[in-house]
Amino acid sequence: MAEFNPTQKFEKIEHNGIEVRGLNIHIGDAHILKDVNVTIPKNKITCIIGPSGCGKSTLLRTFNRIIDTTEGVKISGDVLLGDHNIVKSHGSDLIELRRHIGLVPQRPCPLPMSIYDNIAYGCRIHGIRNKEKLNAVVEHYLRSIGLWDEVKDRLSAPAGRLSGGQQQRLCLARSLAVEPSVLLADESTSALDPISSKKVEQLFVDLKRDYTIVMVTHTLQQAQRVADHVIFMYLGEVVEQGPARDVFNNPQNELTKRYLDGAFS
């Protein structure tokens, strides 16, 4: 049970992690994800690893159906989160479902508005207009990612003026402000300098108590530092998955072994 949050305003989804069954994705004629079956455990960090182009981003983008913005995409199979089937939802259900699944992009991308409005945006689009409530939300989430003291005097400044690391933490806070249950991160630290990168990484570790986190990462070291659960993909297929300890120390598949040894990347 998450601790009492004074800014709580939306209903949370009851779930026990994400369950992916027989997921196939085609883009145009290309078969991008091939019969993917994975389990994402609740309140853990799951890292998706694998060589470039193996479909990590595609899988992640299916979890919040942002993949829908890609033209010519066909999805089949099931992605279950609590009572909801992410693949089968559409229209207003889908839009509502997206609120439960936050996304932290690879490159920091603050919305073209002030720091304050970036955090308040999510609440506003879901109908919260009360000024005091919004103030409380903005402060709460900026504090939760340690940005409050850095920006509290310039909340109305454009968010684009922040440094890359600050922007990325802002994006994280922006996702958190709509109270998701799941957080998706697609190489969210790769565009940052090493110190900012560590900071953001640590935030994810701190957040797993309250959120189910799925991370795509290119650096094996990062996966080894933060992962509780690992999914290794290769050419659109899930080759191996399991608790991080098992996959890293005792990989079952030859491909996984070679990837972990750095034979290819």
Binding site: T69, E71, R98, L103, L111, P112, G122, I125, S175, V178
Partner: protein, 294 residues
């Protein structure tokens, strides 16, 4: 000195020269028009010329107000019609339509944008003028020939529409996909995303394009001249005729030789038009600067 360095210096010099030349051209045009207007300004005060609406060259009466207001009205109404329409079209094309739709519509827009204006004029006389005189006029209970401010504005708006849509598409298309996805991922609808993120990000570009289109509209001659009636009055309603400045110049240039001040008056008309476009552009630029630094 190495050859490539010399080449670099020469290229830089030539480019500077051409840039300066275009600037000089602009100044030369303004000065030329101003000097040619000197004769009429000697005899009539500027204030009188700009605020009087009597235009009787035979009796030495040169009031430009009807032409100035005709220019502003036609352009204003055309903008009011074209701006929202083109913005919605661009939003539909970039945010809502599939790429197959775009593949067919983009070339069409380019063709429309490059059609000579006389074709729009002919289309206006054949289609818009009869619609105004036979349908809109009777509907509001006004007898009208159809050659009206409204017809001019409609033709003009159709002319600048493809230009606006192309420019807007360019601008909205340049807004990063990441921004849209960031908004959608928070559970925003497409319309919320368009309104709060895409349009917000594109606003400076949208304003700049609108300025470009309005500048073109202010000077559009043939198409408007063919349908707007060309009566020297200050229009009271959309169904009155009007007479914008470019039409005045085009209709009368060459026939003014017998009257001493007539040529000078037409030059002054050109100067007014030049000045309007210039001030409008500079003003818009200043405004853009302030919203960009915000």
């Amino acid at each position: 000195m190495k050859y490539r360095i010399i080449k670099d210096k020469v290229a830089g010099g030539v480019m500077t020269l051409f840039t300066l030349l275009s600037l000089i051209l602009l100044v030369a045009m303004a000065v030329g028009l101003w000097l040619k207007s000197a004769d009429i300004l000697e005899e009539h005060s500027m204030w009188n010329l700009l605020t009087a609406s009597e235009w009787k060259p035979m009796r030495n009466q040169f009031g430009f107000l009807a032409f100035i207001s005709g220019t502003f009205y036609v352009t204003g109404v055309a903008t009011v019609i074209a701006l929202p329409t083109s913005l919605l079209m661009a939003i539909f094309l970039t945010e809502y339509s599939r790429s197959t739709v775009r593949r067919y519509i983009y070339p069409l827009l380019d063709i429309l944008a490059s059609l000579p204006s006389v074709i729009f004029g002919v289309w206006g006389t054949l289609v818009i003028v009869p619609i105004v005189s036979d349908i809109i006029g009777p509907a509001v209970g006004t007898a009208t020939s159809g050659y009206t401010l409204l017809s001019g504005a409609v033709v003009l708006s159709v002319m600048i529409l493809p230009l606006l849509v192309s420019l807007f598409i360019e601008i909205l298309g340049n807004v990063e996909i990441d921004l849209r996805e960031a908004s959608l991922a928070l559970g925003a609808t497409r319309w919320q995303t368009t309104k709060h993120v895409v349009l917000k990000k594109g606003l400076p570009g949208i304003i700049a394009s609108t300025v470009l289109a309005i500048s073109r509209a202010l000077g559009e001659t043939i198409a408007v001249l063919m349908v707007c009636g060309n009566l020297i009055i200050i229009p009271d309603s959309l169904l009155d005729a009007c007479y914008p400045i470019p039409a005045l110049i085009a209709n009368n240039y060459g026939e003014m030789l017998s009257l001493p001040l007539y040529e000078s008056a037409l030059m002054f008309a050109a100067f007014i038009l030049f000045f309007i476009v210039l001030v409008f552009n500079l003003g818009a630029r200043l405004y853009l600067k302030t919203i960009k630094t915000e």
